[in-house]
Symmetry: C2
Subunit: 357 residues, 2 copies
């Protein structure tokens, strides 16, 4: 019996509502595949914690979380109480960097029973993954302000790309592409406009290409690429991008497939030197929080990605298939949540998926 | 009789094919409204010029162009001959900065006869404009490389925002919003992740808001905003964004309306201290260049924006209406180009619009 220790951080808003549903589906899957998951739940990385302690995290957070095999994360952010750049840099973004989760992986696929905003697209048509650099680049937090409060006020913020940082995420993306049937990698750039960092990115892509002769590589400037996600999402297989471009593309991709509310993301340290973190793409959703109607599919899909990362690809695939099955029943036969035109609650939809497992 | 002197720069690829069609439609409109346009055509800002001279522009380009009332621009970029970051920084991006064209204005609207990739959208449903900062921000060209060629290689690129630069584009956007029926302004930010420059942007928006009490203001992080362009394009009226975010949004917007190949853009110096520049959003399109089948509508629509800028709103509206009329005939009755499922050539479609004028 394999045992994995999982740190659970529900965070804010609907994070707290969908995480229990995610745990239930994970328990069911683990039971079926002879895996033991030990969950410990933490209250930090939330606005509540911030209100009580004036910080997002306890001083020993790193030590505490480091002993876990993975982090199962809900959502963080409650701008009424704490500004987003404080709560995010004080938790999620810090986890990514401290635990060197340098790959952010986000699948974009049409799911049965989910309506895409694009005309005439069917499940099977769109199925790609965005590999986002997750620790450096545009999210540098280096910079500052001069001549503050005057007409000459000037603000600088640095983008930082390192060879180590760029190469390792590119390698991960090339490896992903090499393992998929289409063996196609698209690089997001903007070397025509952002004339120092992005030409460097292109250079490293060109260099790495030599090591993966079977992978077909192309590149698009981010403006054109965003456009092609809408016009030709079927063109893409693996898309690799810098921190900011990956952020944009991995929201836009799920928007195109209609899965923004249910898409998962994995913040991975591929070497497993540190715990990886699994969180849905959706945020804390203050507008619907507290009503028990948030869609738990993103959180459950995260569970599937977590099982995959922990070395259980079959269990992961089984859980994903259960999600797809329940979605395919439609709002008439499954307790789908209001966003999917059903009348189900978070708990009911979570239960239905757990039962399907 | 008003006379305007226009510098014409066809540039590369299909730029050379669509510019004559644009001039023809402009001549027709000018004739009808008692406006005289004097065109002078220049061969610089092109790969040909670069091959002959080793630079993109003659040394006296600034003096030369400064004496014109506007620049009617085709497209620049021919990566087989000159790398994009060289050709762009050596021409278009330099024009924007030297002539302080600090507003880049790009309409996103559903046009009759043009299919949107979004399901169930009709002309009238989507009609917004992106106001992009066009001289600073992420396009700074400040930065460099250290430990070159080693494992420690590190590349820095600076984002620069100034109070002057941010405030003036915000003011323009607020003024645009104040003049439109919906009086709604959306600001693109990423202050939750890009933690120095983007919170500053937000701060300036909040400050300026006080001066435009009638304008309803909201903000979205760029990732969520890109997603909402696909999911709810009808939400938007005026969208204001930094240089990079504006670049992305003003390609994504026209992609959502199906008008990427025909959208115009205006690089404006609102104070008219310097000539403004009008260019279609599409590039030089090496794949179809030389075949005479490029769609000239973007270039002609640019002509309409140029007339507006030159102080002829009625002529501008008339030309835009002529475009819409011809598009609405469909490929059966109008010589629409292949991208619009017709068999027309660039020249034929241009002529049809000029005749409609
Ligand atoms: C060609 C490129 C440098 C340019 C830009 O990024 O500004 C283009 O995409 C545009 O939007 O005009
Ligand atoms: C909340 C925000 C800082 C974060 C990011 O930009 O990385 C989010 O958008 C994401 O994609 O995980």
């Amino acid at each position: 019996m394999t045992t994995h220790r999982i740190a659970v951080i529900p965070g804010d808003g609907i994070g707290r509502e969908v995480v229990p549903a995610g745990m239930e589906a994970l328990e069911a899957t683990a039971g079926r595949f002879g895996i033991t998951l030990e969950f410990d739940t933490f209250d930090f990385a939330s606005a509540d914690y911030w209100q009580r302690h004036g910080t997002m995290l306890p001083t020993d957070w790193e030590e505490t979380l480091r002993s876990y095999d993975a982090i199962f994360f809900g959502a963080v952010g409650w701008p009424e109480v704490v500004p987003d750049h404080v709560s995010l840099w004080g938790s999620l973004l810090q986890f990514r960097r401290t635990f060197d989760q340098y790959v952010n992986l986000r699948p974009c696929r049409l799911m049965p029973g989910v309506r895409s905003p694009l005309a005439g697209r069917e499940p099977g048509d769109i199925d790609f993954v965005v590999v986002r650099e997750n620790t450096e680049g545009e999210y540098s937090s280096i910079g500052g302000r001069i001549f503050e409060g005057t007409e000459r006020e000037t603000v600088l913020q640095e983008t930082v790309m390192t060879r180590v940082g760029v190469d390792r995420v590119l390698r991960f993306a090339f490896e992903q592409a090499a393992r998929r049937p289409k063996q196609h990698l698209t690089s997001a750039t903007k070397s025509n406009g952002i004339s120092i960092s992005m030409p460097y990115w292109d250079e490293r892509v060109a260099e790495m290409k030599g090591q993966f002769p079977a992978v077909r590589v192309d590149k698009f400037h981010i403006d054109a690429l965003a456009a092609q996600f809408v016009l030709h999402p079927e063109w893409f297989d693996v898309v690799v991008a810098s921190n900011l471009f990956g952020d944009i593309l991995s929201d836009l991709g799920p928007a195109c497939t209609g899965t923004l509310g249910i898409a998962p993301s994995a913040n991975i340290n591929p070497e497993r030197d540190h715990p990886s973190l699994f969180e849905p793409v959706h945020g804390s959703a203050p507008d619907i929080a507290g009503r028990g109607i948030a869609n738990p599919v993103g959180q459950i899909w995260c569970g599937s990605m977590m099982l995959e990362h922990l070395g259980h690809p079959e269990a992961a695939a089984h859980l994903l298939a259960a999600i797809e099955k329940v979605l395919s029943y439609g709002p008439g036969e499954a307790p789908l949540t209001p966003d999917l035109h059903g009348k189900g609650t978070t708990a009911e939809l979570g239960r239905a998926i757990a039962d399907q497992v």
